[in-house]
């Protein structure tokens, strides 16, 4: 194990880290795994329920502490392989200290390839499991959706509740022309795990991405998600649900980067905070010169459920083209008093009314997540958090 030496962390004074907790990260408390450990094959017992909820899969990969430990390919249109950790042809995009550390310390880059023209109806399930206490883990996942292919990928990220770790996942979604990819990232990390994730998607001509993030766990859990609409007629639908409690912080930075003409992006991020939790949403719609005919929408709504919890919402537009339709909306506030009154007037006790309203608030997104069998688990996780609310 090598400790991180001469690594200087960014600070909150940089715009992209503003409102974050990055200065509280004690990098010295974590050490990268220097080489692949003999990870157990098979699905961790704690994740059997996730696999079962997904139903029959097209392919299954289990990545333990950053190493591809188990693969089961059921559909010949899907290939999964591990490439060397620093494989250079993957992960384009902006560099920061965490993506550099990822290149340096990643054990495997897991590549999922969907064959050209293939219609893969069952989900590709990738389980990231982190149980190496004190480890800094650098998972890398690349999904290549071949031309005119169609697939659903679940990327589930979790750890035992006792594990203390740092994870800096890098996810790249590459959609070839006319590819159709639904990607669902469910983050159920334990309460002592830091996550600094970078997701980047590249959407080619007439391709369509639906990317959903569900953030429930972690101590500080960040996702920076950039979607680059490179080819004409490409579409990105970006969804998120996040719900922080206790002292959790969920931190999202998004970019809808319109490069090609007639591209569309539609973002809907819905979050809630309770107890002393804090959330940040900061999003940029960027329409570059040449991206005429762009449609770009961005909506961020936050429920602040208790005193002491806090949500920041910062939408931004940067438009260099004329013929565009863009809008953004953001809201931060408590549960609507009229909605609560209405339900109470029907005999629903106040706390139950609040639970229904919060679940209903999230339902707009959960109902659109691609792995239907997993939705009850997501609803249950939200309901369980509400029951644990400390007033």
């Amino acid at each position: 194990m090598t400790a991180f030496t001469d690594v200087s962390l960014p600070s909150e004074s940089e715009e992209v880290w503003r409102y974050s907790r990055i200065s509280q990260l004690d990098l010295g408390a974590f050490a990268p795994l220097s080489d692949k450990r003999a990870e157990e094959p098979g699905v961790p017992a704690a994740l059997q329920a996730v696999v079962e909820a997904c139903g029959p899969y097209a392919a299954l990969a289990v990545v333990r502490n950053g190493s591809l430990a188990h693969v089961d390919m059921a559909d010949p249109a899907v290939e999964i392989e591990a490439m060397a950790g620093d494989d250079a042809d993957v992960v384009a995009g902006e560099d920061d200290v965490f993506t550099r550390l990822s290149r340096e310390h990643a054990l495997d880059t897991v590549a999922v390839r969907i064959k050209r023209g293939a219609v893969v109806e069952r989900p590709v399930v990738v389980l990231h499991w982190i149980d190496a206490d004190g480890a800094a883990v650098f998972p890398r996942l690349v999904v290549h959706a071949g031309e005119a292919s169609q697939a659903v990928v679940l990327d589930h990220v979790s750890s035992p509740s006792s594990t203390s770790a740092l994870t800096a996942p890098v996810v790249q979604l590459d959609l070839a022309d006319a590819a159709n990819l639904a990607y669902l990232n469910v983050q159920e990390l334990g309460p002592s795990v830091w996550q600094v994730a970078y997701h980047v998607s590249q959407v080619a001509r007439d391709a369509s991405l639906a990317a959903s993030l569900v953030a429930l766990g972690g101590d500080y859990a960040r996702v920076r998600a950039d979607s680059r609409l490179a080819g004409q007629g490409g579409t990105s639908n970006l969804l998120a649900v996040y719900f922080g409690d206790h002292g959790q912080m969920h931190d999202f930075r998004t970019m809808q980067d319109h490069v090609g003409p007639k591209t569309t992006s539609d973002l809907l991020f819905k979050g809630a905070v309770q107890d002393l939790a804090h959330s940040v949403y900061s999003g940029l719609i960027r329409v570059r010169k040449g991206a005429a005919g762009t449609n770009a929408f961005q909506t961020n709504r936050n429920l602040v459920l208790t005193e002491g919890a806090h949500a920041d919402s910062v939408p931004n537009l940067e438009i260099e083209e004329n013929d565009v339709r863009c809008s953004h909306a953001s809201a931060v506030g408590p549960i609507d008093e009229e909605q609560r009154y209405y339900l109470e007037a029907r005999g629903v006790p106040s706390d139950v009314a609040d639970r229904l309203i919060v679940l209903g608030f999230f339902e707009e997104v959960i109902d659109r997540t691609p792995v239907e069998g997993l939705r009850p688990r997501l609803r249950d996780a939200v309901a369980a958090k509400l029951l644990r609310q400390t007033r």
């Binding site: 909605q339 009154y341 109470e344 007037a345 029907r346 209903g360 608030f361 707009e364 109902d367």
Partner: protein, 269 residues
Amino acid sequence: MSGHVLRIEGLRAKVADREILQGVDLEVQGGQVHAVMGPNGSGKSTLSHVLMGHPGYEVLAGSVTLDGVDLLTLPTWKRLQAGLFLAMQYPIEVPGVSLEDVMTESFVAAGRVNEPVRELVAAEARRIGFDERFLSRPMNVDLSGGEKKRNETLQLGVLKPRFAVLDEIDSGLDVDALRAVARRIEAATNEDGLGVLAITHYNRLLHELKPDVIHVLSKGRIVATGGPDLATELERTGYAAYGGPDDQTESRPLAQNPFAPDPFADPLA
């Protein structure tokens, strides 16, 4: 007569530092239909929300009891369990929450766990002519004004209160919907001994509901009480005789939804 009594005595209430109700006295027996009429701004909607416990209103004095139970000390949801239902003038949209969810939780809270919620809801929907497609949809979302009022009446039918306050239930209703709503409420008064306090601006509802007693509310007080003839007289003469010009602009209650249909529009127009 069912023997149940809703009694309002000396009720004074304010909203946003303005005293709207200035001493309301009223008593409704089970099975009876009372109408509260009055000019805009007389406090009709305030009365309904104060009875149900809207958080925006503050009671200054007086009492409201249902079969002797003091409603004013109860939270809203317990007032429903005590037997009071409010059909709202502007039913609130609750995204992502279905009618069935709400009825189920209401039954659970009331200990009515053995009652088949889905069947009751479906039966009431058929009775009131509420499209069953709406039952699994989010509460009031994308419903027309008339559908919302049918939905309110449906919930009244499922929850079976002892007393129902109908706050302008006739606004935004077409003739068919008005008739369906009125027929369902009338049936409840006959079958279940439901007592009704119908707050209304128009006589149209009263032609359908046939009230036993009419009250005129003006400037926060009941200024006249009489039989059905009083409604006929009001239709002819207006409220001028009762201290209120009837074109007075109503103070906007907190619950008012700015996107709701114009509450003062004649639904027949």
